[in-house]
Amino acid sequence: MPNSLSRHPRLAALALVTPALAMVALFFLLPLLASVVGAFETPEGPGLANFSKAFALYSRDMLFTLAIIGGATLLTGLGAVAIAGYLTLGECPLAVAALRWLYRWPLFIPFIVVGQIARSFLAKNGLMNNALIGAGLLDPLSATGMLDWRGLILAFAWKQIPFVALLVAGAMASLDRGGIEAARNLGASRPRILWEILLPQVAPSLLTALILSFVTMMSVLSVPLMVASQSPTLLTVDIAFRINAYRDYGLANALGMISLAISATVAWFYLRHSLREKR
């Protein structure tokens, strides 16, 4: 005898999806809602005071965050395309194998360690400058540290390039090699093949990977704390500072909302893009 669930397939579907939905509602939507409500809570009752203060104190940091994460995303894209391109088009099997083995390492390194590496590598008398000075390529007096916006961009890109390269290289590997061979037979150089044949075909994967990277970097606190927590700095540092120094959850929530709005704009592109793909 068929039971009631099999008689009502929609009910069965609902029952199946309920645990997952409840999970999302409980652990994602509820905290998000609490944070949104918290952003409008002020000692004088609900209002926009937190937002006006956030813009008054941290508008520079908001622009800085956009510029740094945007710059790091761009650099990540360039680095990842270069790596994935060489993995696909490289002609020296040994170099390709070495690169394939090496490039994924940063994937397994936590952001906080990346911050620490950047700090000892990019400092004025750090590993990089010392090596350059030792090799006679840099005058000791003109050495400068890069523990500022440059350090942030480099540290972020270093960490995110493997992730994007992994996805893009995968997409490139699944392409039909016929096109590449045809272009090569017609005398196209490798950079040209990469730019005109490979990239347009893997653009959707590249875009998706870059958007995911952007959103990940938006949420990192350890790297800016360790590399450049001075002014201007990233919004994550300001959020932590509002909570730790002032116990001011209202303004921290408001800053969280603003950073959410930045991420959401990028996520919107992602959604629009993936919807278009599905059609």
């Binding site: 008054a56 104190l57 520079r60 700090r119 400092a123 004025k124 008398n125 750090g126 540290g145 523990l147 704390l225 360790m226 590399v227 450049a228 927590s229 001075q230 002014s231 201007p232 700095t233 540092v237 300001d238 932590a240 500072f241 909570i243 730790n244 120094a245 002032y246 116990r247």
Partner: protein, 378 residues
């Protein structure tokens, strides 16, 4: 068979509750705070009280660590939990006041022997809130200016001399602003003590008057100009890193961190400390006992041991380079001269007494930080 299994299970249940008591200690601060209890204080207490087990949980460095402890208490109070999961907590000075005001803590100092050995005012008032009886200072830490004597023959004796130095040697003075740890915050508070047009005494002791917060404009403007001549470092450790690598010649540091790094070979032994006039703030870390601890008597015994002259001498001063929490003269008796001298070699006790200041009371503290964000960072 079933019965045997059941009785075995029951036995197991009761057996696991058998050890006399487990004392849970939450501590804010760096890993060294956890190490201190795990490697030294915990085993000592367990030896003196057979059957007890000390369990320590670190909640993270800086104010954030104390904030987590406060929130844990808050959650248990709101849930009306009868017995809390914490027996002893070590918190920053800034959080002792709010905990006392919320009635989370037990008043216990009068009940333990070492309670009489503390007369310093920071065990009575914590940034403007009366905490007398509720706290025992674990140690006092102090900020000072670390400098490289190879580059600086005459160290700055005052904030004025620091300003003059920074002007003459751009980027050779470094500090970590206000978002990268408390040594930078301390330098800024000292700046306001020195150049604010209000009364520094009022900032330290209260009462809070909003009009007072309008008197820092000139000082902050000068600080913004000063910042153009200095290197901003990433964090407390960042300042020490840069000193060690010779990238800056001078900067504010925590004395205990400085001495520990020096002892571990992370800093050149030649670096020295100076405490400039009119002074820089320091702060104690406090032992507190939640009123609803499940083991109040044992917790009191633990804090009594931790603040006894012998433990303060061996653990706090000798092993961790902190200034003692209880009055120094009681600790001095239990220490050899060499260790004592090492702690006070650069900053003699007289300078410490004169220039070691408390942080401003909480509302001024927040107002100064926010004014810095508004005036100096924007």
């Amino acid at each position: 068979m079933k019965k045997t299994l059941l009785s075995l299970l029951c036995l197991g249940l009761f057996a696991s509750a058998a050890p006399a008591a487990e004392l849970t200690v939450l501590t804010a601060g760096d890993q060294n705070m956890v190490d201190y209890v795990n490697d030294y204080l915990g085993p000592l207490f367990e030896k003196q009280n057979p059957g007890t087990k000390v369990r320590v949980v670190g909640t993270g460095p800086g104010d954030a660590g104390s904030q987590k402890i406060l929130e844990r208490f808050e959650a248990q109070a709101k849930a009306s939990t009868a017995k809390w999961d914490t027996d002893v907590a070590v918190v920053h000075e800034k959080f002792a006041g709010p905990m006392v005001e919320a009635a989370y803590l037990a008043s216990y100092r009068g009940k333990i022997a070492s309670g009489k050995l503390v007369t310093r005012t920071n065990a009575q008032m914590a940034l403007g809130t009366k905490v007398d009886g509720y706290v025992m200072p674990m140690f006092n830490s102090q900020t000072a200016i670390a400098y490289n004597p190879a580059l600086i023959k005459t160290p700055p004796k005052s904030y004025d001399e620091i300003v003059a130095f920074a002007q003459k040697h751009p980027k050779q003075f470094g500090y970590n602003g206000i978002k990268g740890g408390a040594s930078g915050v301390s330098f800024v508070m000292g700046w306001i003590y020195a150049y604010g047009e209000g009364s520094a005494e009022k900032l330290m002791n209260g009462p809070f008057e909003p009009a007072e917060t309008q008197k820092w404009g000139k000082a902050l403007k000068a600080l913004k100009a000063f910042n153009a001549n200095v290197t901003l470092t990433p964090g407390n450790a960042g300042t020490l890193d840069m000193l060690a690598r010779g990238e800056i010649a001078m900067g504010p540091v925590w004395v205990d961190m400085f001495l520990s790094w020096q002892r571990n070979g992370q800093l050149p032994p030649s670096l020295k400390l100076v405490l400039p006039a009119p002074g820089m703030p320091g702060q104690p870390m406090h032992y507190v006992i939640p009123a609803k601890s499940a083991n109040v008597a044992l917790a009191e015994k633990f804090v009594a041991l931790a603040t006894s002259p012998e433990v303060q001498a061996e653990g706090i001063v000798k092993r961790f380079n902190w200034y003692p929490g209880i009055d120094a003269q009681h600790v001095q008796k239990a220490l050899d001269k060499a260790t004592w001298d090492k702690l006070f070699i650069d900053v003699p006790p007289a300078d410490l007494a004169r220039y070691g200041k408390p942080f401003p009371i909480a509302p001024y503290n927040n107002a100064i930080l926010e004014a810095y964000e508004r005036e100096v960072l924007n």
